[in-house]
């Protein structure tokens, strides 16, 4: 009974596996469709098991924003073409153990790529901070 965020990065994280280096726009349309269908299948499976919390995909383009003093408009910067880290989207799950969270991440990572071969993409697994337990000492 803990929540985890499974983060998918466009850029960043450990080095990609060889089968994950071909950009999606160079796959066949069927391979793209199969990949998307698999992601939906993972979400459906998690829903059916009562483990699903949320899934969102992010636009790769955004900008940086900050406060610039009272009465002044926010300052924006970017978008930047080159970044060290870029988040593609996430899935949030509520599961019984960290082992189960890793299992779900591995399931997602087995999504098919070119030739139907599992992409073995890296997913970052981050625990949510919880409420403080009632029993403290």
């Amino acid at each position: 009974m803990a929540k985890y965020l499974l983060l998918k990065h466009y850029v960043g994280g450990p080095e990609r596996r060889p089968q994950g280096t071909v950009p999606m726009d160079q796959w066949t349309p069927q391979e793209v469709t199969d990949h998307m269908a698999f992601m939906q299948h993972v979400a459906d499976t998690l829903k059916e098991r009562g483990e699903f919390v949320d899934a969102q995909a992010l636009s790769p383009e955004g900008s940086f924003v900050r406060y610039d003093g009272e009465g002044r408009p926010p300052v924006t910067d970017g978008p930047f073409a080159e970044t060290k880290d870029l988040i593609a989207g996430w899935m949030a799950i509520d599961v019984d153990s960290l082992e189960r969270a890793h299992e779900v991440a591995a399931f997602l990572s087995s999504a098919p790529g070119p030739g139907g071969v599992p992409l073995e993409e890296w997913l970052e697994v981050r625990p949510f901070l919880t409420d403080v337990p009632q029993v403290d000492a």
């Binding site: 009974m1 829903k47 059916e48 009562g50 483990e51 919390v53 509520d94 409420d131 337990p133 009632q134």
Partner: protein, 384 residues
């Protein structure tokens, strides 16, 4: 409608208990009770029956029989059993026990057992449970129906596993409160019900533990929402009524001389509750209880808490030596070391350990607390 809601919450589980006692399988009994509640919701507005409980039992049982009959028209079997149930008592506390044994069946995962317990025994709605655990309602609904499916494949071995029930109730209590439902209150209510049908010392121990911790809750948070640690809590804000009740329940449990870990944990909580100021805490006795707990349930978490007690009894150096024997993957390991180093006068180390501990805290409130501790020690360092 809120009055009806409270009534349904109370009556739903009792009606379910009757149906299960009469031999209905858990999943279809639960469906029948839900349907009866929906019908009550529709009809009671203008015309509430004189005996709502009897009305619900009759209606739910009729709905259950409808399902059984329509199934039996396809495959005629076991109908007689269902149509001619033992009359049996209509109410009774052991229905609570039966339902808890089912909802906390060892075949269920902890999260499923928690959800099913709150729904079937606690009478909460799926929406309330979902909001308490911050998941979508559809996710919680799936979790509950999966649990019911799992149960329909399992046979209940009588008696059920009381230790599993206690663990599930403890999990519910520990979750605390978010959303409209106070899970700690729910857990206390259910544990009280359990104790009246299963007067076992460990059930009493768990209830005492809950009450003694609950008593401290008003002092656990500052007005601006920050966590306040036990040693600096305003003890005048502790609920003495709950403390007295907890101590009384614990004492009668201990007198039965069948010790278990919940009784020991409650005894430790009682010793904290007994000290009018933190400095008067009876740490030598607390350490003895931790030694006992290590015999009953030697986990690294218990060993870490024991090390804190060692630090209070024999000084921070002895405490640090005790911590060194605990695997450093245990939560709060670094925070305990920080505290002991501060008491030993090593502020440099304490500061950096508090900072490290804040980055590995499991909760936001704890992280903020440890960050403030680091900042406080930092300030002490630079004033000195």
């Amino acid at each position: 409608m809120t009055d009806l809601g409270a009534l349904f919450k109370d009556l739903g589980p009792r009606v379910l208990g009757v149906l299960v006692r009469r031999g209905a399988d858990f999943a279809s009994a639960e469906d029948a009770v839900q349907e009866a509640l929906i019908e009550a919701h529709r009809r009671w507005g203008e015309d509430t029956p004189r005996d709502p409980f009897a009305w619900l039992v009759t209606t739910a049982w009729r709905k259950h029989l409808d399902v059984v009959r329509s199934e039996s028209s396809r495959r005629r079997r076991e109908v007689a059993d269902h149509l001619e149930p033992d009359p049996g008592p209509v109410t009774g506390t052991d229905e609570t026990l039966l339902l808890l044994f089912l909802a906390c069946h060892p075949a269920l995962s902890p999260s499923s057992a928690v959800a099913l317990t709150l729904r079937a025994v606690g009478g909460l709605t799926t929406r309330q449970i979902a909001s308490a655990y911050l998941v979508p309602e559809s996710t919680m609904a799936q979790r509950i129906s999966r649990a019911k499916r799992t149960l329909s494949r399992e046979r209940l071995t009588e008696p059920g596993d009381l230790a599993v029930v206690l663990r599930v109730l403890y999990l519910i209590y520990n979750e605390g409160h978010s959303g409209e439902v106070d899970l700690a209150d729910e857990a206390i209510r259910l544990t009280r019900q359990l104790l009246s049908s299963a007067p076992e010392p460990e059930v009493a121990g768990l209830l005492a533990l809950m009450l003694l911790h609950h008593a401290r809750r008003p002092a656990r948070w500052s007005p601006d929402g920050a966590l306040v640690s036990l040693d600096v809590q305003d003890r005048s804000r502790w609920d003495t009524g709950l403390i007295n009740e907890g101590v009384e329940i614990l004492q009668s449990a201990l007198s039965l001389d069948r010790l278990g870990e919940f009784q020991v944990q409650a005894a430790i909580a009682a010793l904290h509750a007994d000290a009018p100021v933190a400095e008067q805490t009876d740490w030598p006795q607390i350490l003895e209880w931790y030694d006992l707990l290590m015999e009953l349930n030697p986990t690294p978490v218990v060993e870490l808490n024991r090390a804190v007690a060692v630090g209070e009894v024999d000084g921070p150096r002895a405490g640090l030596a005790a911590v060194a024997r605990v695997p450093d993957s245990v939560p709060r390991h670094t925070a305990v070391r920080a505290h002991l180093h501060e008491r030993a006068g090593d502020l440099e180390t304490a500061h950096s350990l508090y900072a490290v501990a804040s980055r590995s805290a499991a909760s936001a409130a704890e992280r903020d607390h440890l960050t403030r501790q680091a900042a406080r020690v930092h300030q002490r360092l630079h004033r000195a």
